[in-house]
Every structure is written in structure tokens, then in C-alpha cells.
């Protein structure tokens, strides 16, 4: 039967904070989320935490996916989380991927990054995680 309404779309922001310039991983994740039917906003390289949080706010995303390879995650991620709290974006799921040492993972989770996906994670795992862990109700 035809329906007049439109289903609610999941919106995702894929962002690369910091100075490294390798965005293949970010693009793979963006593509996988798109293929899973989500609307994915890709911001490009070398974003400041302020730029990322502002974009997440304007685009009203459900999930923020951060990718980092530069090693600056312990500085940049907590800064992003703090800015999001400041602006009342606490209902946005934040996940991360890239090269992040084992010992930092639990610290980042304590600071508010919901999950961290290391190199080689099948995209299917990331997609399912996003689907099942959104903080906003549809």
C-alpha cells in the first residue's frame, strides 16, 4: 500500500580531525554507510574540532564518525566531545576509527567515544553498530 510519509533517514557526518592527509579509511566508511541507505556528509581533510562540531550541529546528524591516523586522538577527540556537550549535542552517537593504540581505547571510551574500530574492521560491523546504537529514537 502506498504511504504518504517518508521514512526517517539516518544522517551521518564523517570527519577527519587533525593534520594527517590519508582519508581512504574515512571514504570507505562513508561509502559503506551510504550503501546502507544513510545520508552521509563528508567534510574532507584537516578539520578543527570546532569545524567538526559546528558541521555536526548544522547538519543535525545522528552519528559522528571520526577518523584519525596522526596520533593526536588523545587531544582532539576529548576536545570534540567537550564541544559537543557544550552545545547540547549529547544525543549524537560518536564513533571513531583509525590507528589508535590499545591502551588509549578505554580512556577514549571513558571520555565519551562510544566505540572504536581499528584497521581491518569489516564495514558491515560498523554499519550494524551505527544502526543499533543510535541515541535518538526514530
Amino acid at each position: 500500500m502506498p504511504s504518504a510519509g517518508v521514512e526517517r533517514k539516518i544522517r551521518a557526518l564523517v570527519a577527519k580531525p587533525g593534520l594527517d592527509s590519508h582519508d581512504r579509511g574515512a571514504k570507505v566508511v562513508a561509502r559503506a554507510l551510504r550503501d546502507a541507505g544513510m545520508e552521509v556528509i563528508y567534510t574532507g581533510l584537516r578539520q578543527t574540532p570546532e569545524q567538526i562540531v559546528e558541521a555536526a550541529m548544522q547538519e543535525d546528524v545522528d552519528v559522528l564518525c571520526l577518523s584519525i591516523l596522526s596520533g593526536a586522538h588523545m587531544t582532539l577527540f576529548p576536545r570534540i566531545i567537550d564541544l559537543m556537550k557544550e552545545r547540547g549535542l549529547d544525543d549524537v552517537l560518536v564513533i571513531a576509527g583509525g590507528v589508535i593504540p590499545e591502551e588509549d581505547i578505554s580512556k577514549l571510551k571513558d571520555r565519551g567515544i562510544a566505540e572504536i574500530f581499528g584497521p581491518g574492521t569489516p564495514t558491515r560491523v560498523t554499519v550494524d553498530y551505527v544502526r543499533n546504537n543510535l541515541k535518538r529514537k526514530s
Binding site: 517518508v6 526517517r8 563528508y42
Partner: protein, 319 residues
């Protein structure tokens, strides 16, 4: 914290950017309450200058809008940008990448950028683009840029909402036959030849100029052609001059166009409303299902079927 669309509309009028973003989502998702919010905002719209930016993929629309926004910010104008990209017809997903070329703007509170997917709509825009423009207008933006999907020849919906249409072309995208085709070439109020440092830029200029001169209809506004190199900001000042010139012209002679825009928007709203009403009426209707079968087996044509169904609904509503 869930605010109703009406609360969000209040937030928009108070200048709250989070409210702008959330109301836009409600509108895009066709939240039934968002209609009331739009009605609430409508009396506060009509102040922004709305510039549609269209043209083939890769001609530099996003980069150009980024530069224009920066220049308007220097003039202390509040800028809104809505960038539309296509949804996948297969998965419904979309990759919205226009922000990549507007990165410098995202730390500036005087600019609001929103990416939109077409969600199945043809014509170069999404169905609710016009309402998102209204939100930014009520929010107090002085100028709003609406970037269409990379358009070919028939994505001309942008004229339904823009006060001015900038058509962005680039050298080497097609020969002169492309330029005289009806459709997209006809809707430009200002034509930009971007990437003017490329080979064949002069030839492209000439071809477009010739195509415009072939236009036999006498027009009050003949579209100027501006050469730009968006990546290095060349020609952007001249483009702004032309935009402001057009705005002056539009203010004087614009009533006719505003009326046309009003009529088109009413027609669109009517069509949407009618379709919704009809579909709601047909919910669970056995005739509807039977007709689908008949059309599939070629016993009935869709036009006849539609006429029969509409007649039936009209009759039912008269009783």
C-alpha cells in the same frame, strides 16, 4: 530533550542555530507537525535574496559558493547555503560532499550550511528545499545560496524558488550545440564561465555569447557572462556586482517574477496535498489493488484508471 516543531520555529525566530538544524530535519522527514511550524515562520520570510546556483557536475558550483559566501561575510551579511546532492535510487543513501569545498565557512557563526539529499525527487532539488530556504529566510539570512545537484538539461526546478539563477559552466563540457538546447541554458540570469584559466575558455565564452544573442525574444534583462577562477577568487567580485545589479533590477521589475514564484509554489503545494489526500483515501481500497493487476496485464491503461479513482473519491466526498 525533544522540542516540537512549533517550539523549534520559535527558536529559529530567536536566532537559535540548533533550532534551525532540528526544524530542517523535521521538515525533511515530513513530520506532520512541521507544516504548522512553516506557517508560523512564513510571515517572517521574504527578506532574503535567494540565489540558485546550477550547472553541470564538476563546473565548480560549491567552490564558487564558498567564495561568494566569504565575500558577503566581509560585507557583514548573514549567509545561508543549501547544497543538494542526489540520493541513490537503489539504497536511498547519499554522499553529500559539498561542504568539502566550503570548509573555511564552518567556523563562522554568520554562515549556516546545510546539505540535502534529493530523496528521489527529480528536477535538481529535494522536495522540501523550498521550505528549508524559508527557514533560513525567517532565521534572518540576508542572502541564501541554493546549490542544485550537478544538472544536465532538465534540472530546472531552481527557478521556482530563486530570485536569481547563476548558471555555472566550465570550458570543455560540451560543444555549442549543447548551449542552444532548451532547458538549463534558458534559466540563467547570470552565466559564469568558471575555470577560466583552462584551455578553450575563450571559445566557451564565445559560444555562450552567441547562444544568448540567438535569443530572439526581447528581454528586459539580458544575462551577463562572467569569467571566474573560483579556486583563486578571480572574477568573484565582478560576479557579486552582477548579482547586486540583478537584485536592483529584480526589486524594480521583480513583482512579476515573485508572482510567478508564488503561483508555482501554490501549484506544487496543491499537487502534494491532493496526492496525499487521494492516497489516504485509497488506503485499503480494493479497486486500487484490482486496477494495478489490470494495468499490469494491459487490460486497463493508467490514465483511465486514475480518472476512475479520482471520480470515485470526489463522489464519495460529496456524499
Amino acid at each position: 530533550m525533544t522540542l516540537s516543531p512549533k517550539d523549534l520555529a520559535q527558536g529559529v525566530l530567536k536566532g537559535n542555530r540548533r533550532s534551525v538544524a532540528r526544524l530542517m530535519t523535521a521538515i525533511e522527514n515530513e513530520d506532520p507537525e512541521s507544516r504548522a511550524a512553516i506557517s508560523q515562520l512564513y510571515p517572517h520570510t521574504g527578506n532574503a535574496y535567494i540565489v540558485g546556483v546550477t550547472g553541470p557536475p564538476g563546473s565548480g558550483k560549491s567552490t564558487l559558493i564558498g567564495q561568494l559566501a566569504k565575500q558577503y561575510r566581509k560585507r557583514k551579511k548573514k549567509v545561508g547555503i543549501i547544497a543538494v546532492d542526489p540520493s541513490s535510487p537503489f539504497t536511498g543513501g547519499a554522499l553529500l560532499g559539498d561542504r568539502i569545498r566550503m570548509q573555511e565557512l564552518s567556523a563562522d557563526e554568520g554562515v549556516f550550511v546545510r546539505s540535502m539529499a534529493t530523496r528521489g525527487n527529480l528536477g535538481g532539488l529535494a522536495r522540501s528545499t523550498v521550505d528549508l530556504v524559508n527557514v533560513l529566510d525567517a532565521f534572518g539570512c540576508d542572502i541564501i545560496f541554493v546549490e542544485t545537484v550537478g544538472a544536465g538539461q532538465s534540472e530546472v526546478d531552481v527557478i521556482k524558488l530563486a530570485d536569481a539563477v547563476v548558471l555555472v559552466m566550465a570550458p570543455g563540457l560540451g560543444d555549442d550545440i549543447q548551449a542552444i538546447k532548451a532547458g538549463i541554458m534558458e534559466i540563467g540570469d547570470i552565466i559564469v564561465v568558471n575555470k577560466a584559466d583552462r584551455e578553450n575558455a575563450e571559445r566557451t565564452m564565445l559560444e555562450i555569447k552567441e547562444a544568448i544573442e540567438l535569443d530572439t525574444e526581447q528581454k528586459e534583462w539580458s544575462p551577463p557572462i562572467v569569467k571566474t577562477i573560483a579556486t583563486s577568487n578571480e572574477g568573484v567580485e565582478e560576479l557579486i556586482e552582477k548579482l547586486e545589479e540583478h537584485r536592483g533590477f529584480h526589486m524594480k521589475a521583480g513583482l512579476a517574477r515573485t508572482r510567478i514564484k508564488g503561483e508555482i509554489q501554490l501549484l506544487e503545494a496543491l499537487k502534494a496535498r491532493l496526492a496525499e489526500t487521494v492516497m489516504a483515501d485509497l488506503k485499503g481500497d480494493r479497486d486500487y489493488e484490482i486496477m494495478i493487476e489490470k494495468i499490469a496485464s494491459r487490460q486497463l491503461n493508467p490514465y483511465e484508471a486514475a480518472a476512475t479513482l479520482v471520480d470515485k473519491i470526489v463522489r464519495r466526498n460529496q456524499d
